[in-house]
């Protein structure tokens, strides 16, 4: 820890200012504060909490139940026997919770940037990469909270993975949450105005969700369209869903794991660059919330 002492001048002579670089404890305090604020905000916004729950439950209770007889699922790993369609789509709906939560965070960051609230975070003396990563982890914590509430309700709808699966899925949720959160963080720097967010729904969320293995197994997609199959395989969200699916049954899909980690590094790197005060996209156009 380095210390620099500056003596006050003018009206307050003799008053010493001690400036120290923050230690590890201060970093922890800052990290905890950012994560806690994300969780608090989520809990205070009851409508957001409810809609985050209702969306996947509607898919589970209505869509999946309706399509149970139409969409057959053969025995594919990690399942060891035929499973109900509801069981198959559950990991996809878990991914959907995380995807929507990430995009909600992105929307909230664009709003914060427009109103200037983002500045309170960015003028903290801690390194910007640390601040953004902490915010990202806060968003992931919120999404995991939602996922476990969803899985708890789904349990009573005969979605009963092994008990250990609830534990083994946690690392997968953290990783997939980080990947989607990093993407959202980057997008928040690219989106110029709140009004443009509708485009995100149409061009990012829907294609990512539907062109993935969230709702149908990839072999079924290949049967109907080899091109769409390739698109689905290239979609990082597919691998997030597969990572969750396998982890829920105590297994690891190594390919998905590698792709999710790789995409997280890529998206986070892009986000850190975008928010870099020297080179980033924000600096070039005079944000966040900046004006002459």
């Amino acid at each position: 820890m380095t210390t620099d002492t500056v003596m006050a001048t003018r009206d307050a002579p003799g008053v010493a200012d001690t400036i120290s670089r923050p230690g590890l404890g201060a970093y922890f305090v800052c990290f905890r504060g950012i994560v806690w604020r994300e969780v608090l905000r989520f809990l205070h916004q009851r409508e957001r909490f409810l809609s985050a729950l209702v969306r996947p439950l509607v898919w589970l209770f209505i869509f999946a139940a309706g399509f149970r007889q139409v969409l057959g699922v053969s025995i594919i790993p990690p399942y060891e026997s035929y499973v109900l369609y509801e069981v198959f789509v559950t990991p996809g709906l878990v991914g959907m919770i995380q995807l929507f939560n990430a995009m909600q965070s992105s929307l909230s960051m664009v709003y914060d940037r427009e109103t200037g609230a983002m500045r309170t975070l960015l003028v903290s003396p801690f390194p910007r990469t640390f601040l953004l990563s902490s915010k990202l982890i806060g968003g992931v914590a919120v999404s995991i909270l939602q996922v476990y509430v969803f899985l708890g309700i789904a349990y009573f709808w005969e979605i009963e993975p092994p008990m250990l699966g609830y534990l083994t899925v946690l690392p997968a949720l953290i990783l997939s949450g980080l990947m989607l959160g990093s993407l959202a963080l980057f997008m928040s720097s690219v989106i110029r105005q709140l009004e443009n967010f509708a485009g995100v729904m149409n061009f990012v969320i829907f294609p990512m969700f539907f062109a993935s293995s969230a709702l149908y197994p990839l072999w079924r997609i290949r049967e109907s369209s080899p091109l769409l199959y390739e698109i689905c395989r290239l979609n990082p969200f597919t691998h997030a869903v597969e990572l969750i699916r396998f982890a829920l049954y105590g297994q690891i899909d190594w390919t998905s794991l590698a792709i999710v980690i790789g995409c997280t590094v890529l998206f986070l790197g892009a986000a850190v660059f975008a928010y870099n005060p020297s080179k980033g996209l924000i600096a070039r156009r005079g944000g966040p919330g900046g004006s002459a």
Partner: protein
């Protein structure tokens, strides 16, 4: 035009801006801006909307880096040593930046955490800061229940938590009624004398200036004058600040009903 009315001190000033220029694309918004804010001074950054005040604040707070020139807080270069520089900087931005869904105390505790202040110390400082702005009795209420002036006072309380040596306020009285304006001004002026803070107060409202203030006149991205109020009046050959502003910039300062 310049008037050096400050006493020279060996220690670095709270804020020192030297030769800063900045552009967004082809548009040059700041051109070779230099100014000092000594400790224990109330410096008014006077300029019309679009003069470059907010951009200058964005550069001082390192929301983005200056293209050229140097900005130092207590002698620490904002670009090269941001951790040290930003540690003693308090900011009240032009737009409201409190989280309206959280309580006053939660907002302040969040800010304390952003400066690495631990829970026990944070609680004590938040209480003190709210008492300073006379809002301690509303600590548990949500921010959305406050008036504009009260929210501004909370933002000032928040900016004091980490004991800054330099306080930046970007048009903090815009949109406030006369009572709230006077209250905010009085609190900040009190901090200058009580705590020896260096304050940079950006405004386009002439009637917020008192004769003991220091002035930095910013117009179309350029500093036209730095010095004292009497110095500016003398330099412009004017009887009052409104006239001095008109003489120096060639434009009428915007007036706001008091």
């Amino acid at each position: 035009m310049s008037d050096t009315s400050h006493t020279t001190a060996t220690a670095p000033p709270a804020l020192s801006v030297t030769g800063v220029s900045h552009s967004f694309g082809e548009k040059r918004v700041l051109d070779n801006v230099s100014l000092d804010v000594p400790r224990g001074s109330f410096t008014v950054l006077l300029g019309l909307n679009g003069a470059g005040k907010s951009t200058l604040f964005a550069l001082i707070t390192r929301l983005y880096d200056n293209v050229s020139g140097e900005i130092r807080i207590l002698g620490h270069d904002v670009r090269r040593a941001p951790t040290l520089a930003l540690q003693r900087l308090g900011v009240v931005f032009q737009s409201r930046t409190l989280d309206t869904d959280l309580t006053l105390m939660q907002n302040l505790r969040y800010h304390a955490a952003l400066h690495g202040i631990g829970a026990g110390e944070a609680r004590r400082r938040c209480q003190d800061a709210l008492e300073t702005v006379a809002l301690a009795d509303r600590a548990g209420e949500r921010v959305r229940s406050l008036s504009g002036g009260q929210a501004r006072r909370v933002e000032i309380a928040r900016s004091l938590l980490h004991r800054p040596a330099l306080l930046l306020l970007d048009e903090p009285t815009v949109g406030l009624d006369i009572g709230s304006r006077e209250s905010v001004l009085s609190i900040v002026r009190g901090l200058v004398s009580a705590r020896g803070l260096g304050v940079l107060w950006a405004t386009h409202l002439i009637d917020e200036i008192v004769p003991t203030d220091d002035i930095v006149l910013l117009h179309k991205g350029r500093v036209l004058f730095t010095g004292s109020v009497p110095g500016m009046l003398a330099a412009a050959g004017a009887d009052d600040m409104r006239q001095a502003f008109r003489v120096m910039t060639g434009t009428n300062v915007e007036t706001e009903a008091a």
